[in-house]
Symmetry: C2
Subunit: 105 residues, 2 copies
Amino acid sequence: MTANTLVPVFAALGDETRWSILVALGGGDASASALAGRLPVTRQAIAKHLAVLQQAGLVEPVRVGRELRYRVLGAQLTETARRLDQIGVEWERRLAAIKRIAEGL
Amino acid sequence: MTANTLVPVFAALGDETRWSILVALGGGDASASALAGRLPVTRQAIAKHLAVLQQAGLVEPVRVGRELRYRVLGAQLTETARRLDQIGVEWERRLAAIKRIAEGL
DNA sequence: AGTTAATGCAACTATTTAGTTGCACTAATC
DNA sequence: GATTAGTGCAACTAAATAGTTGCATTAACT
C-alpha cells in the first residue's frame, strides 16, 4: 500500500494552500466545490491540489452521489513520519560514529 | 531552536536534488565545491540548495579555513517526524470519532 | 423533461524555482 | 608576492507550478 517514494509526499506537504485544504477537510470529507466555498481559491485550483495530494497518497476520493469527496488519510502521514524518523536517527548515528573517529577513538 | 514552521521543511525535502545533497553529505560535512565534484550540478546550484536546506534548519554551516562546509542536522529530521506523526495520529483520531457518530453511536 | 449543481478538460498568465554562465573578491599556499 | 582554490553576487534561461477563466458534460432533483 505505502510503497511510496517519500519525495512527492514532502513536495505535496510543502505548500500552504494544500495544508489549508487538509485542515478544511479535517477528519471528515468534502468535495472540491464545497472546499472552494471555504477557501480563497477557485474550485479548479483546489481540484489540482487534491490531485497532487491524492498522487502522494495523502487523500482519498469518495463518490457520494454526483459529487466527489475527499478525505485525509492520516495513516499516510504517520507512515511518512515513521520513515522520516528512521532516516533522522540513522543520520545521528552516523554523525556520532564520525565524531568518535574524529576524537581518535 | 526548532520553533520551525513545518511547511518550509517539507518544501525543502520535496526535491530530489536536495536529497542527493543530504545523502552526499552523509554523516560528515562537505563544502558546496566538494559536493559539486560528486553531483551532476554546478557549485552555484548546490549553494542555492544548501541555502534552502539551511533556512529549513536541516543543515548547518561550519567554517573550516577558507571553505564553508555543511553538515546534516539529523535532529531536525526526527523532530519534524515527531510533529508529523502527531498530526497524523490526530487526524486518525478525528476520523475515528466521525465514523463512530456516522454509525449512530 | 428541464433545471440545477456538480465535475472534467483546456488554454492561458504569472510567479517561482532549478539550473546555468560569468565575474569579482578573498584567503591559503608555494 | 604570485598563484590557486574557494566563496559571493548578479543576470539570465527554461521549466514547473499556482492560479485563473471559460466551456462542455453529466448526474441529481423537482
